[in-house]
């Protein structure tokens, strides 16, 4: 066995560190999906009639749709009747503040490295934690509400701000958008809701932490962010799941609405359980994320670091409707072992002088497959639209693959669209250069990979950048092909 192989071996045997599960009493729906389950979820949440109607409409549409087969991923068929669509940690009544939250739950979050208490006191990040689809705790609510910012769980928003939810729910990702969005619309159990009023600059990072705990459970959460005129918010999302042999489905929807002059920054560090080194188990991450720059000069920026999931199918997109609006997409996707990722973005330019920028870095190791799939569409009325896309792939090992599927559709002659992509491996000369200067091989690879991903890492908020860099190092150190 050569040294390279040894290092590769070492790193592939590295275990997923969030792979534990906690037993707390859970309130569960029976397995499977039908209209009764949807009524059950809706009743559990004490939802108004219109929302139930909306769910049923989505369910009806979902039953008529077929699962998409175009992504460049392979996985065994999902048994939608074998999934539990609702599972909530049992609580007697809703906690008013953190002290009333089940201590077992709080411990869970401490193990995840996000102590809700600590977060509250030290870092000043407002956290909404979601376990098995139900939001369990939201910090900093009061501080935020002084500014008029609403940051709460989705079910709370339905109860307390029905007019806002009704207005914006499904406005960016309609219930019939695609197969998994329809499924989510039918059965979503909770999520986060965030509303930034006119002219308010959110003073802290808002954060949601997702955790799948129970077995056979799908997680279907929905995030809705509304930024009114001239407001600003930076939003973080993180996720983990326990190590289980069977695959679990995560089909979330994120909708962002940005009004005139508003700016929304959405960052994700996705670290769902990727399955073991033989490709057994892991999360199917089929997520629909979309933002609309509705007003003039608005801006939406997606940043994602994807290290987890057995199969990822995710295209955070921007609809650039307002004049002078801009969209950004920064992504690092790392796949190892038998992971498969088909990810990218869509930039739909509708308004005049709209700008978009795409930077996607794919790193594949082991036997994994990593695809970039993106679309830049300049519509006829989008005068002076500008796009720059760059997607680079780094291959480590000769059994993995890197693929690029960019679609560039231009219907306006004043548009400037550029796309470039490269695929390469870590150069022997680069490693040699580092080793000559006394940097060992493993550190050299880490150095090169970090340099490769730096452009994206720089876009992450500080709290996340540290975690992301750690994750990247953990996933890839020393895996020279």
């Amino acid at each position: 066995m050569s040294k390279d192989d040894q290092i590769l071996e070492e790193f592939t045997s590295k275990e997923y560190e969030h792979g534990w599960s906690v037993d707390f009493e859970a309130d569960e729906a029976p397995l499977g999906i039908n209209e009764d389950i949807i009524r059950f979820i809706s009743a559990k949440k004490e939802e108004p009639e219109w929302l139930l109607e909306w769910r049923l409409k989505a369910y009806k549409r979902w039953t008529e749709m077929t699962e998409p087969t175009w992504p460049n991923v392979k996985y065994p068929a999902i048994d939608y009747q074998g999934i539990r669509y609702y599972s909530a940690p049992k609580q007697k009544k809703k906690p008013k503040n953190l002290d009333e939250v089940d201590p077992e739950l709080l411990k869970t979050f401490e193990r995840l490295g996000i102590s809700l208490q600590e977060q509250k006191r030290l870092t000043g990040v407002a956290v909404d934690a979601v376990i098995d689809s139900v939001s369990v705790a939201t910090t900093f609510k009061e501080t935020l509400s002084e500014l008029g910012i609403i940051f709460c769980s989705f079910s709370e928003a339905v109860q307390e701000h029905p007019e806002l939810v009704k207005k914006y729910l499904g406005s960016v990702v309609p219930y019939n958008d695609n197969y998994f969005a329809a499924l989510n619309s039918a059965v979503f159990s909770d999520g986060s809701f965030c509303y930034i009023p006119k002219g308010v600059r959110c003073p802290m990072e808002l954060s949601t932490y997702f955790r799948i705990n129970a077995a056979n459970t799908g997680q279907f959460e929905r995030t809705l962010i509304v930024a009114e005129d001239s407001s600003y918010v930076s939003y973080l999302e993180g996720c983990t799941a326990p190590q289980r042999d069977e695959n679990q489905l995560h089909a979330a929807v994120v909708e962002i609405f940005a009004a005139k002059d508003a700016e929304v920054k959405y960052s994700t560090v996705q670290n769902w359980y990727p399955g073991d080194k033989n490709g057994k188990g892991g999360i199917y991450n089929f997520v629909t994320k979309r933002g609309i720059c509705d007003g003039e000069n608005s801006k939406i920026s997606w940043t994602q670091v994807e290290t987890g999931s057995a199969v990822t199918w995710k295209y955070p997109s921007c609809i650039l409707k307002g004049d002078n609006s801009s969209g950004e997409f920064y992504s690092v996707a790392v796949t190892n072992n038998y992971q498969q990722a088909d990810t990218g973005t869509k930039m739909i330019h509708i308004g005049k002088n709209t700008k978009s920028r795409i930077v996607s870095k794919g790193i594949s190791a082991g036997k994994s497959q990593n695809s970039y799939r993106g679309q830049v569409h300049i519509l006829k009325r989008a005068e002076n639209a500008r796009n720059f896309s760059q997607c680079d792939s780094l291959l480590m090992g000769d059994k993995c693959g890197a693929h690029t599927f960019p679609y560039i559709d231009v219907e306006n002659n004043s548009a400037q669209v550029e796309h470039e992509a490269t695929t390469s491996k870590i150069g022997e000369d680069q490693i040699f250069y580092c080793q000559q200067r006394g940097i060992d091989e493993e550190s050299a690879v880490a150095l090169i990979v970090n340099g490769f991903a730096k452009e994206v890492m720089n876009k992450l908020p500080m709290e996340f950048a540290v975690e992301a860099q750690k994750l990247l190092a953990l996933t890839l150190e020393g895996s020279v092909g």
Partner: protein, 434 residues
């Protein structure tokens, strides 16, 4: 009266089945016929034809129930007048998709280059032909390639023998479009070890009706062979064409393709190249300069199956008025094709508000020690450059012409034949109104 309830595909096949009943290649054809009927013309949903609604266009413009076998109005003299002024060359004539040896002028000795009608040859040596005919199109399952195999007759067989440097070969297609018609030319090219062949293709027509061409070129280049293939597509707004080029290369061989598209109602170029040996080299160059409502779709696929090969692709486009250009480039690097070097580039200039460009440069890479990159741009002429030239007293038209000519030059200069290169240069200038 027969039932009119049958679909387009069946009409087409039936139209030809009467002609081909006595054909010795019937076994080969009937398999293709079955596959074609099963597949049908590609519908819009099909990824490979996403931006070219070819089924709809064909069905709208052609009534296959009314197809006739055209009686040609082309005479030998009329054809030969159109020949390029090159006496040291082979000039080969297709009339309505059928190779016509009588009208052709052949200068190459048959000890260098064998030029035969596929039918004639097939009577003597069917087994040999069967080995090559349809071999490259087989696994692609393209409806048009299948249709061509099922319905072509009098194809052309070009066989360049070992270690020969051949005279340039011009292929001319003369079509009759007095009423709407379809032609199905087929060329099978075999370039033996160490030999070199250059082919140039061009099309003419008589008549005003809609005409559909469904052509296939199959090229098998053996080790250290070289093939250059240039297509000049400048027809009318009543011409619809699906042109397939399927090539396979043995080790150390080279293929160069040049595709120039100017006027057409709809042209779809399917270019499939398989680099099936070490140290192969492939260069694909294309230029499309479109206006009116022309629609050109270049679909290219390069398959690296062995190590140490090199492929280079450059397509440039100038799209004006209501034209629509589509580019789909695919580079496929198989796991064993280490040390592959692959480049792909597609640049477009859009000159009008109604023009449209869809481009999809695609990389699928399964080997790690490779250098692959692609780039594509869509934009317009640089305003600063325009200002620079205008401020030096150069007229608006000339400025535009100068810049677009420079833009296109990279692809035009790839043509080795002076006559063709000059013609392409003139076509570009004419189009720019200079």
């Amino acid at each position: 009266m027969e039932v009119v309830d049958r679909n387009t595909e069946e009409f087409l096949i039936n139209h030809y089945s009467r002609l081909l009943e006595t054909d010795p290649l019937n076994g080969l054809r009937s398999a293709a016929r079955e596959s074609f009927l099963k597949l049908g013309f590609p519908a819009k949903k099909q990824e490979a034809y996403k931006y070219t609604p070819i089924k709809r266009v064909i069905e709208k413009n052609f009534d296959f129930a009314e197809l006739s076998v055209p009686v040609t109005s082309w005479t030998k003299e009329a054809c030969q007048q159109k020949f390029y002024a090159n006496s040291e060359a082979n000039h080969l004539v297709f009339i309505n998709g059928l190779y016509n040896q009588e009208f052709s002028v052949i200068k190459s000795p048959s000890s260098d280059l064998v030029i035969e009608t596929i039918d004639n040859r097939s009577y003597e040596n069917v087994a040999d032909l069967k080995k090559y005919l349809g071999a490259l199109t087989k696994d692609k399952q393209d409806a048009f390639a299948l249709l061509n195999l099922a319905t072509f007759s009098q194809g052309l067989f070009l066989h360049s023998l070992k270690n020969k440097d051949n005279l340039p070969t011009y292929i001319y297609h003369f079509n009759d479009a007095a009423s709407s018609a379809i032609s199905t030319p087929r060329v099978l090219t075999l370039v033996e070890t160490g030999s070199r062949l250059r082919v140039y293709e061009k099309t003419f027509r008589n008549g005003e009706a809609n005409h559909l061409t469904n052509s296939i070129v199959e090229a098998d280049v053996k080790s250290n062979g070289e093939l250059r293939w240039t297509k000049l597509q400048n027809q009318t707004m009543a011409d619809y064409a699906i042109e397939g080029f399927y090539g396979i290369q043995e080790r150390d061989s080279r293929i160069y393709t040049n595709t120039f598209s100017f006027k057409t109602a709809l042209t779809r170029n399917n270019l499939y190249l398989s680099l099936d040996g070490e140290n192969c080299e492939t260069h694909m160059h294309g230029l499309y300069h479109l206006n009116q409502t022309s629609h050109v779709d270049n679909y290219t696929s390069v398959d690296h199956t062995e190590p140490n090969s090199f492929s280079n692709e450059l397509y440039k486009g100038i799209v004006d008025e209501k034209a629509h250009a589509v580019f789909n480039g695919k580079i496929y690097v198989r796991p064993q094709a280490q040390k592959t070097n692959a480049f792909q580039s597609n640049n477009n200039i859009i000159l009008s508000d109604d023009a449209k460009v869809n481009t999809k440069p695609q990389l699928e890479i399964w080997a790690d020690d490779v250098k692959c990159s692609h780039g594509c741009t869509t934009g317009q002429l640089d305003e600063e450059a325009i200002f620079y030239l205008r401020s030096r007293g150069i007229s608006k038209t000339n400025t535009k012409a100068l810049m677009l000519n420079a833009f296109a030059a990279e692809t035009v200069q790839e043509v080795q034949d002076d006559l063709i290169r000059e013609e392409v240069e003139n076509l570009i200038l004419n189009k720019l109104g200079v």
